[in-house]
Symmetry: D3
Subunit: 237 residues, 6 copies
């Protein structure tokens, strides 16, 4: 099958990293298309970046949809940017990496904590958790005070700061699993899971595996309510 | 004071109606700027239209912000499209007409019901109510099965369909007030309130009055968390 | 317009302070009547004081209502003492300063914390927040361990203790705004807002501005459910 | 032991009925004092009556408390009028008949429905259920459209209307038990329970039995937080 | 009346202690049968022990039910092991000691904290509180890191560790009452209540008193929904 | 990989059906072991059957675990019987078919309704949804009044009754997807999905696909909190 993994920001090194992680997590017969839309923000940090990334993201998704060859879509931003709008464009499954990680964590832990990048992103993640219904499974959303692009820079102390928050979560939150709250942390999960002896979840892998699962049982996005196809020609007034 | 009321769709007749209602509701010394961004959808019906309207909406808001002469902003779409992103761009108050109506209804009724346009918009409104915390005050979100632009057409039976849902809400939902769930219904509130003997709230008026209230007590949007100013230059990677 | 601001306790200096703050916050053409009912407790600190203040409060409100010249009522106790009962007596808007501050804070911050006087008042405030639906927007209700009347005494260290709680809220609660949880703190909001660089809300001002807003759009209290007029003559048994 | 059962309204026939039901439900060595405060409303129907009954209710409770001979208090109004304030006056258990019935129903049914008197009382009951935490156990609060005092009148069709709501609750709400939502219905529970084959709970009996239970294990009202004794002398300002 | 108090673990010294506490709490005319099923785990610590104790527990309950001489059942494990299943077997009241303590604590405190044995038991208790609806009344579930059987050993420092958590709860949680979260702590409640000046509740006593209360008002378990009698002969397929 | 799918009831025809559906849904390189424990109830209908099936279920799971050759476990009863206890026995993923369907439905629909067998099972399903956090995504749990074993009988009208509830859900609940609430309905999903044009989810397929997804990304059950391995030897007292 073919899964389009769209990183809604324009940082190519991050898209490449996401693509590597996604392909490594996928079945051998799954093809990963890692894409980043042109004209989008360099990183998605908070509500404004999210909003400005939407139109490019949706156009890229529509282009892939029009090829008729994509079986599922993954939105590779932990804010699940544009997820609901994207679902309106296709009957194929569309998975956000944030929701993928939350759902998966709920299957292996009574409660989990999230470690994300900057404090400014916390409210958006809490809003998502509330909407999805999984806020009661989340002990706490923590910020490591690491800008997204810092994760791309050699020599950064981002790893130390992320570890400090994981340790605080295990000590104070009664968290039984940790969710890494940024696509840019996708390559850290295995190492951290081994270090701390708890499940550490990366949304990219979770989303790819969920997308494969949904395609394999032919589960499609509902089209009769909020995810109905957009009416593009609304007539004259 | 000057309030910019931005209708995030591109239908000029609707913007004009919103402007008239807003100006009629405003204090005599308040100037209403009713704007609709170019290149936005003809109407906002569901998640996809919301997403596609965001960039034009935020650019229009930023232009007004740059004049230095706007005291508050109103987003005149009942989905409160782009509200959080807009709050990141300014310290001035930014009010969505949906949230304005929900908060105001909570001050005059134990529970209220919402009557909106199409069923496809219900999930987005329920998401907003959940995020705002006011879902427990809302008895039910109902759809009159009236497309937004139908509200602009002479000879439409939209009024009949809206009345049918109001009557159902009063009979079945124990609603003590009705919130009209579309900016295009702004001119109906007084008539319906008189007909049914309950508060019928239009978000445009509620938002203008709330904006005036916030400006008069110099209340500003917080800038230390989720509504921090966007970082536009994120450096090279 | 004329707004009756009723301080349900009997401390005249506090009523005078509330009146000054209210008048300063009001439009130039708004007349503030600051009243305190006779025979009420010296301060409202917890459930018992609330209960004992109700009958005098409601009688004062009814007297003002009977003049036919009051456009809106404000209950100037942060516990929103008697708010629902008061709404039964009139079609005019009735606003509690607690709810006014919570609703306003929800419009400028993702989450807010409350700083009130004594710990014994915390449960009553949490009950109100739960009923209003806004508990999910409140990070924490904190007590500065300052009795209400201490706020009226020269030389008190109340200011220091309030600041200590504000600082804790900003450090620990991810609060993006602070709500001052007592009418007696009404004169501190501007100074604290400037000191801490976050919105610090005083309920008196919020309530006056909201009352003006509601009157300006002719929004009235619903009369068909829980706020129906009391049946005073219930007949003989 | 001695239990003071205070009917916060002034209708003597209702107090007598409550007293009879309470005594019949009590242990043989329990003495029931059925009291109604002077100067209170003839019935408690909604927020205003509740508020006006508080001072007389609390004075009556304090008088009984001062005798030093009362082991527990029951507030025999289904709105649990003044319950929190009453708890501030004593270390003895204080039980409202509404909460007593809700807690007891939660022990014999997955979900229960409430059948109360007038629709205007529904919001107050829902507020209580929300505060107590038991709203999730309550399928629905229904009103039989029977004024409280109608329950005291011979020849009334109140019984028919109550039965109609019970039948609707069993048919539509998946209720496994019924709570009768007025002290004036206390004498109907056994008959209705037999008729419908489900637990039908009357709050008076539930509260008396709970009060006996709490006294028997010497459980007392906490005095370190919201139920701390009132500070009656607050000093001069 | 006769109450069967079933300790679902097989530790006889604990059953004896539970029996003593139960009998001491009961009315003089109540007979306590303290039982522990054969073939059950030595202690119930977490989900697995709970599951393995169910069949022996239910068989023991059925045997007692078959005598026709038991008026109520108490399940004396703080996890309320098998409570719902047990309710299916009888019309008599069945009370879990966990739920009994939570309900009773809700009648004397605005919020309570729980102090249980091992951290592994916390999720199960939080699940119960969520299901019962009382999670909003519980400030926090704390673990003293004391294995259940440690409570049975002379010379254990369990008492110190429990006190440390109680002190933390009173200092940090705004708890107005403490619930002891293990049947093995049943003998500590009076002493701890006296030491800390707050209600300290033991579930065994609460459950016995509640069972007596329910029997005295002839309240029975509903049989029309989730607690319907099991269908034992389901026919051939 | 190898997935053990355990049907906790003893009806072999149902286990065979579950096995066929599971194998058909699995990847070509996945081996499905469909098992039903001896000595379990013929069907799981409500709390009592659940409880009595636990010990056999857990013993079967432990036996498979001891082979060292099982990569994941599926509990093929829609009540998710014993799910938490099972998770304590292994680091492999353990998925209940109920939770699998709820999580999957949340990814393709704003809200879903459940159609289960008998009304007596509704409370247990609602408890699960509440615990998982997904109750806010579920519009309603409906019962088709079809006993589980009726689904195994030729000539049954079960299909008609299930369709009637699906139609009611689509008409009244604003459900955008339907979850079939019994393992015995596993073979109906495709046909019903085609008939109604909405996603109709069967938990068996969802659980198998989720299990494969979790194994493929090496996600394991957390062992540091509620799912810690049981302590089997607790020492002497």
């Amino acid at each position: 099958m073919r899964i389009a993994v769209i990183n809604p920001n324009s940082t190519a090194s991050m898209t490449a990293k996401i693509g590597r992680v996604a392909q490594a997590a996928a079945r051998s017969d799954t093809e990963i298309l890692a894409l980043n839309p042109p004209d989008s923000p360099a990183s998605i940090e908070g509500y404004y970046d999210e909003a400005m990334s939407l139109a490019p993201l949706l156009r890229t998704l529509q282009q892939q949809q029009d090829t008729g060859k994509v079986d599922a879509f993954v939105i590779a931003c932990f804010d699940d940017t544009g997820l609901d709008a994207a679902r309106c464009l296709t009957t194929a499954p569309v998975i956000g990496i944030g929701e993928a990680a939350y759902h998966m964590a709920s299957l292996v832990a009574n409660k989990f904590s999230v470690v994300t990048t900057l404090p400014r992103s916390i409210p958006a993640l809490e809003h998502n958790l509330t909407r999805y219904g999984l806020i009661s499974r989340c002990a706490r959303v923590r910020a490591a005070s690491v800008p997204v692009l810092e994760l791309e820079r050699a020599g950064s102390d981002a790893g130390l700061r992320i570890r400090a928050e994981i340790e605080a979560a295990l000590r104070e939150d009664q968290a039984e699993a940790i969710v890494l709250g940024c696509a840019g942390m996708a390559d850290l999960a295995d190492q951290l899971s081994a270090e701390y002896g708890v499940p550490v979840l990366d949304g990219v892998r979770c989303a790819v595996a969920l997308a494969e699962a949904m395609v394999s049982i032919r589960l499609q996005t509902g089209k009769t309510g909020g995810y109905a196809l957009p009416v593009l020609d609304k007539g004259e007034v």
